[in-house]
């Protein structure tokens, strides 16, 4: 507790700093590996589509406590297969949760479905009210998928517009959207690799992740914007300010992620252990994976990417160069004074001076190589910003003749 708070303060003050922005190649490559695995899983293993997408009939039987065992499963499987219906000849029967048995068949028509339902009821020895049934036609999944895709597209466009309008910065939109795609791909990959069933509830879960992932990203970006707002007055580069923002919001990000994950975890537990299958599990699982990925991506992907994009801007690069120079000047103000050596030309021959950089006509912004060279002089001209005295009436010195005589 105390340590966590200490860490919180240290992170806030910048005493302890995890270099999220600087080590971006590391984070990018970790994400790239995960995403590649996800895509690989998706293309080689494929998604296990639920009957809502494939079409079919699913029965769920509430067994008396303790009777949802393998024997009952076998019994029901045989009974269903013996109905002689072709579509029900190879039913998938398994236990689900503590006392539910789930049976899936190929699409049946209404009468056949009733017949199978009857058979199951007899085989399992339960009442009519203990069986739930859903019959789904083969075309239904298409409609669900179509709508989900439209929803995804509309949402993405709206979010890009929203973030652009809120932050006035399309680069933030790009960062947020890349993080979003990252989360969704990872979630889908988890589904592909684990073989969990994909149902319309899963699709909803994935669409909801979009919101959550952005929630995190917005919180982090808000702090980034705040920290970089007055960059010219500090000795920080854009990257440093952004990194500080991530560090400062780290405790908050961890807390919000934990708090968001706790109820979803409870939901997942109820869905998997108590009910075994169904909308609850599908939703909670997608949310759980997506939220975890969302917390990661807003810190490790969105912000470094934003910094990278921002560093392409000439003004930011100039600002960064200034900040570095100022920082260096702050640490050692005589760093640029040349050390006297033998045969050093001392005198008023400027072109042979040992500090040629001082007169380097090249603009600072375009410098390349291993960082800006430090000159002991202010690079370029200082950006004019609003200062605290901007609105105050400034003292003026009038000519003597105009000053009032006392």
């Amino acid at each position: 507790m105390g340590k966590m708070s200490r860490l919180g303060n240290a992170l806030y003050e910048g005493d302890v700093s995890i270099n999220f922005v600087g080590r971006r190649l590391l984070w990018y490559s970790i994400s790239a590996v995960i995403v590649l695995i996800a895509i690989g899983g998706l293309s080689f293993k494929g998604l296990n589509m639920g009957i809502e997408f494939e079409g079919g009939v699913e029965y769920r039987v509430a067994m008396p406590a303790g009777q949802a065992d393998q024997d009952a499963v076998e019994e029901i499987r045989e009974a269903v297969a013996d109905t002689g219906l072709e579509a029900a000849s190879a039913p998938i029967v398994n236990t689900s949760g503590t006392d539910t048995i789930r049976i899936q068949t190929e699409p049946l028509d209404n009468d056949e479905a009733t017949e199978v339902s009857q058979t199951i009821r007899e085989a399992a020895g339960v009442q009519d009210g203990d069986i739930s049934q859903s019959a789904i036609g083969p075309t239904w999944g298409e409609q669900v998928a179509d709508r989900a895709l439209i929803g995804l597209a509309v949402f993405t466009v709206l979010v890009i517009l929203f973030i652009w309008a809120y932050f006035r910065e399309w680069k933030m939109s790009v960062g947020a959207i890349v993080a979003l795609i990252h989360d969704v791909v990872i979630t889908i990959g988890v589904y592909a690799l684990s073989g969990f069933e994909v149902t319309p509830a899963t699709v909803t879960g994935v669409l909801t992740i979009l919101g959550f992932s952005l929630y995190d990203t917005v919180v982090v970006f808000d702090k980034v914007r705040e920290n970089t707002h007055n960059l010219a007055r500090t000795r920080q580069t854009y990257a440093q300010a952004a990194n500080l923002a991530v560090n400062q919001t780290l405790v908050r990000s961890i807390n919000t992620s934990i708090v968001a994950l706790l109820p979803v975890g409870a939901l997942l537990y109820a869905g998997v252990v108590t009910l075994g299958s169904g909308a609850l599990k599908d939703l909670a699982l997608a949310l759980f994976v997506g939220m975890a990925a969302g917390a990661y991506s807003s810190i490790f992907i969105a912000t470094p990417l934003l910094v990278q994009l921002k560093e392409l801007e000439p003004s930011v690069r100039q600002g960064d160069a200034r900040a570095k120079a100022r920082a260096r000047h702050h640490t050692d103000r005589f760093a640029d004074v040349p050390v006297y050596t033998e045969n050093m030309v001392v005198g008023d021959e400027p072109e042979e001076a040992a500090v040629p950089v001082a007169r380097d006509p090249e603009p600072v912004g375009s410098r390349t190589g291993s960082g800006p060279r430090f000159t002991g002089q202010r690079p370029a001209s200082k950006q004019v910003t609003r200062s605290a005295s901007a609105k105050r009436a400034q003292p003026s010195r009038k000519p003597r003749s105009q000053r009032g005589k006392r």
Binding site: M1, G2, S5, N9, Y12, E13, E52, R60, N110, A113, T114, D128, G129, I131, S132, Q133, S134, A135, I136, G137, T139, Q143, R147, A148, I150, G151, L158, V159, F162, P200, A201, T204, T208, L210, G211, L214, Y215, V218, V219, D222, E226, T249, T256, I258, V259, A260, L262, P263, V264, G265, A266, Y269, G271, T274, L275, G278, A279, L280, L283, A284
Partner: protein, 586 residues
Amino acid sequence: MARNTSRPGRTLIAFGLLIAALYGGVALSGDWTPKLGLDLQGGTRITLEASTETGDEVTDEKLQEAAAIIESRVNGSGVTEAEVTTQGDRNIIVEIPGENRKELVDTVKQTAQLRFRLVAATAPGSAQAQPSAAATPTPSGNASPSGNASPDASPAADPAVEPSSASRNRALSGGLVAADETAPSDRPSKKKSATPSPAASESPSVLPEPPVASEGAPVDQPLQWMRNPGNPWIQAFNNYTCPPPGEAGLVKDIANKPIITCDEAGTTKYLLSAAMIQGTQLDDASAGIPQSQVNWVVNLSFDSTARQTFAEVTRQLAGTGEQFAIVLDGTVISAPTVISPIAGGNAQITGDFDQEEALSLANSLKYGALPLTFTAPVVTEEGPSLAADQLSAGIWAGAFGMALVLVYCMFYYRGLGTVVVASLGVAAAITYAVVLAMSQSIGFTLTLPGIAGLIVAVGITADSFIVYFERIRDEMRDGKSMRVAVETGWVQARRTCLAADAVSLLAAVVLYIFAIGVVKGFAFALGISTIIDVVVFFLFTKPMVSWLAKFPFFNTGHKLSGLDAENLGVDYLPGQPRTAPAGGNA
């Protein structure tokens, strides 16, 4: 904000009153449990997907009309609480709570059939219809169901069998006139004079003329058949009794066979010829009041294929007082007489309609004009015991998830954790009231995904408090005192929270619009919880923190307040006397 600063108590009291008012409103209806969805109480849900035979687009209007017709069909089969709603651009959801009613699938997905038939005979639908007939001023002494249809009755002379002697729910009968201004010769003038036509109560019903032979005319010649249905049909007609309204009474409506059926109220039975014109041949139907008239009429226009037939039929029927019937799904929705022959294909049904009747008739006609074909891609049936399991699992998950969040916040934020507890409690109370209010007003049903949405929203709601608290702590680390930090932190946290909640809400709205199936409930729950989060955050959490900031327990950094030096990780609290030794305790 300034007001909040100075008077947090006032805001809190006002907010308390708001909640009290909300609960007062809910208490008025006296219903303290929300409407549960089928997955929580058991029942049958049939999802229908509409398509048109012609490949035309399924318009919203048509879908609504179809839903209304399906609803009356379902309710007609004895189901009381069925709900029929439209979803997306082509789905109709039929929800039947309670026991297994899967056999309804065929009933609801049947295509609506609108047909124009000729009326061979009418009679009161059942013996029970007699008392109401006696109550009307029309003489009805000799109205015996068997006698009316007997061949020896003289046409147009027996007033006892008027369809209007029934209750107000009678089939909308009336006169039919041409509405085509370009109709030949004297029609315009004639129409004008004829339009304040004999209203339903004045139009006598038509009885068949004495049959030439007991066999009757062939059924594929409706005009002849109408006047001479033959004994077997008359016998069947005489023996037929209308089922009481609301009972299963769907008549098999086969286009090329005569049928015996009733009007919607079941008070009049009709012997009808084979179909003359199909609903698909109807171009358009609308209700309106013609210029210089006062009564509502229904305008019809037939397409070119039906124009000829209709002209012929109306020419034959005009002036005779004989009726033809408009039959939707085997039920007579209107049986007008023909006042004048109509050649142009545009007709007007007049009568003493009120606006509602006229609109409903026009809608039925329009729906019949473009019959939608339905498939039932999803039929689910929830067993009540599994549904009960789902409900308890949902409630358990909600309680457990909320408890976890509270424990975590109390542990991490100590004294400030009470704010989280109180705020979440208030948010839960408001959410419950809103769910109750909405299930009463707009028929919101709480489904399992809905409960999931509410649970997930606990996280979102707690998130905004965390954002705020972390802000306060950050401000204090910057060297502000607690009371200042509460206000300056608020300004920052407010903005962040609004932006984040806006994204959340956006996601919920997009989901709600584009998701189909039960998951809509999830999006809806998520959306309202997000809005409630903002309300609670602004009107409760902030004033409460401002109010708590007045207590020394919080503003001097008590060890359990969550805002003490150790908790913030600083050496001493800003604005407080330094208790730490001069060397610091780092």
